[in-house]
């Protein structure tokens, strides 16, 4: 892969795009009987790309496409993250789609395109590129969220996501426009015509650290990103959309889309908006505190597990925001963000996997009560669920604990004591609902096992999903004990 050709720099994205096209080609070429195998091709192809990525992991930092993109170790990390997410979503989708009377191949196609766009999103260093990649992701997600179109609730969720997403896109866009406009203003020091480039804008902001218009643009951009990560008060759509979306898509929203938002936010905060720390710092601090509290409190008495996991995801976003806020003062916080994201990925997908298995055709109604007696019916699923939730709750020996620890350490080093207090309160509240869920699965005097749950639990996860769940659980435990490889990826460079 010669460094000269910019296209070679984005080979994983290109491969994903080609794989996506290949799926469509296969659908037209192959006989209908063989269509069931196409998702496996998708999974295998993604695994191949992941392996290739692992072997070419040590990429140097370099710009590509006239500075539209920046390839960096952190970018590699996020590439792997999105790739793993999309593989897992594909695995979940295979199981979930089998209940539905909808086209299958297109789903996998869209997932692949979205994954590639997410990679570009966190690599982009240009607002045009950012917007295009972001919209590709968003439009893909509109489609995926409303994919189970025979279910009115799914469509309703799609509509809600559509409107809120478009609104946030508009806000983000207007923010970009303001930033672009003010930085090109000839009357100001450091005027630049390259304001669409992060670097150009950063130079301008450096020269004008107190411009009101720039500040207004910055907050609008932040609110657009806050929608993606589900930060307070832009989190309000989450429960409805998570509930209505197909479970694999919920996973994609909760993990990958959120991570993409954080990838962007981290770059913006550390590289571009740094001169406006007086604004970004307090804003994100308050956002983090409110997000942690609101997510946990709203989840406290939630009975629908998809809404619950959505709201718990909100609180996790708050935790990651805490690390992002600390990143301004403490470099290790960046590592903490990535580590947290990975721990969150592993734990979340374990939980979503179990949810997918137990969901059945009506994906949108899953109550806590449906988990009663799960441990008796399927110790495996219950174990995966317990480990996943334990990791989400941040309990040793799971990876989630180490992640939380790093966030705390980073926040401590950065001196955000008030936020730490809020975070402690959040952890304690979160224990209530995580354990409420585990309790449902394990303490069997709560309610009789519903026949639906019993049937699904006995049917099990199937080979692919089962292997994936086992691997996730194992990964969660191993990362809890032995953080070496991931941490040296995150921080070794």
């Amino acid at each position: 892969m010669a460094a000269g050709n910019p296209w070679s720099a984005i080979w994983p994205e290109i491969s994903l795009g080609c794989l996506a096209l290949l799926l469509l080609v296969l659908e037209t070429v192959l006989p209908r009987a063989a269509h069931g195998r196409i998702p496996l091709v998708s999974i295998a192809g993604q695994l191949g790309i992941l392996v290739a990525l692992a072997f070419n992991f040590d990429a140097p930092q370099r710009a590509a496409f006239n500075g539209l993109l920046m390839l960096s170790p952190h970018g590699q990390l996020m590439r792997a993250f999105f790739l793993i997410s999309s593989i897992l979503v594909s695995v979940l989708a295979r199981h979930s789609l089998s209940w539905q009377r909808v086209p299958r191949v297109e789903f996998h196609h869209v997932v692949l395109v979205v994954a590639a766009a997410m990679m570009l999103l966190v690599e982009s260093r240009n607002f045009v590129m950012l917007f295009v990649a972001l919209e590709t992701v968003t439009v893909g997600l509109y489609i995926l969220v409303s994919y189970y179109r025979s279910n009115p609730k799914t469509l309703e969720a799609g509509l809600k996501y559509l409107v809120m997403g478009a609104l946030s896109s508009a806000l983000l866009l207007f923010g970009i426009v303001l930033l672009y406009g003010v930085s090109g203003s000839p009357g100001l020091a450091g005027r630049t015509g390259e304001a669409m480039q992060y670097a150009g804008l950063a130079g301008f902001l450096e020269a004008n650290p107190n411009n009101f218009l720039a500040a207004a643009g910055i907050v609008l951009v932040l609110s657009g990103v806050a929608f993606k990560i589900g930060a307070f008060p832009f989190q309000i759509w989450i429960p409805d959309v998570y509930q209505g979306a197909p479970t694999p898509v919920t996973a994609l929203l909760a993990v990958a889309s959120k991570a993409a938002g954080f990838g962007v936010l981290l770059i913006l905060v550390t590289e571009v908006f740094a001169p406006y720390a007086w604004l970004v710092g307090p804003v994100l601090t308050i956002m983090a505190a409110a997000t942690i509290l609101f997510g946990n409190l709203a989840a406290l008495k939630q009975n629908n597990v998809k809404r619950l996991i959505g709201l718990s995801g909100v609180s996790h976003a708050g935790f990651i925001l805490l690390a992002v806020v600390s990143a301004a003062r403490e470099p290790m916080a960046i590592g903490a963000v990535y580590f947290y994201l990975y721990a969150y990925l592993i734990a979340s997908f374990a939980v979503f996997g179990v949810m997918t298995v137990l969901a059945g055709p009506d994906d949108t109604e899953q109550e806590l009560g449906d988990y009663a007696g799960l441990a008796r019916e399927s110790p495996f699923l219950a174990g995966v669920l317990a480990c996943g939730l334990g990791s989400l709750a941040g309990i040793p020996p799971f990876a989630g604990f180490v992640a939380k620890l790093f966030v705390f350490v980073a926040a401590f080093k950065a001196g955000h004591f008030g936020l730490i207090a809020v975070a402690v309160a959040g952890v304690v509240i979160s224990i209530y609902y995580y354990f409420g869920w585990i309790r449902m699965a394990y303490f069997d005097d709560e309610a009789a096992v519903s026949p639906k749950t019993a049937e699904r639990a006995r049917a099990g996860a199937g080979l692919t999903l089962g292997v994936a769940l086992a691997a996730l659980t194992l990964g969660s435990v191993v990362l809890g004990f032995y953080q070496g490889p991931l941490w040296s990826w995150v921080f070794g460079r």
Binding site: V128, E135, T138, Y142, I143, S146, E156, L162, V163, Y180
Partner: protein
């Protein structure tokens, strides 16, 4: 005398605000969607004005992408609305609250 940049930006902002207002107060999904499109277009107006007055180039190019994206969004959005109407026989958002709390 030519109109100033401020005038363009204010106009754009006003259009953006009107769009936002529409999203806030209207119940009809289609109208809400039109208002969202209005907001996007309002942003492009400011972009073009900035580009022109500041003599920078990227803004104009950006408009192309914005319009294309908007078109794609409209297509997908309308498809969802149509499907939803088929399922629920309504596109009034205050009836679309089967998922809450």
């Amino acid at each position: 005398m030519k109109p100033s940049l401020d005038a363009y930006v204010l106009l754009s902002a006003a259009l953006f605000a009107i769009g936002f207002l529409g999203v806030l107060v209207r119940r009809n999904t289609l109208v809400i969607y039109m208002c969202l499109e209005l907001m996007l277009v309002a942003a492009t107006l400011a972009l073009v004005a900035f580009s022109r007055f500041n003599g920078t180039e990227d803004g104009d190019v950006f408009v192309f992408f914005i319009l294309t994206v908007a078109a794609a969004e409209v297509a997908v959005g309308l498809a969802i609305i149509v499907a939803l109407f088929r399922a629920r026989q309504t596109v009034e958002v205050d009836r679309l609250d089967s998922m809450k709390h």
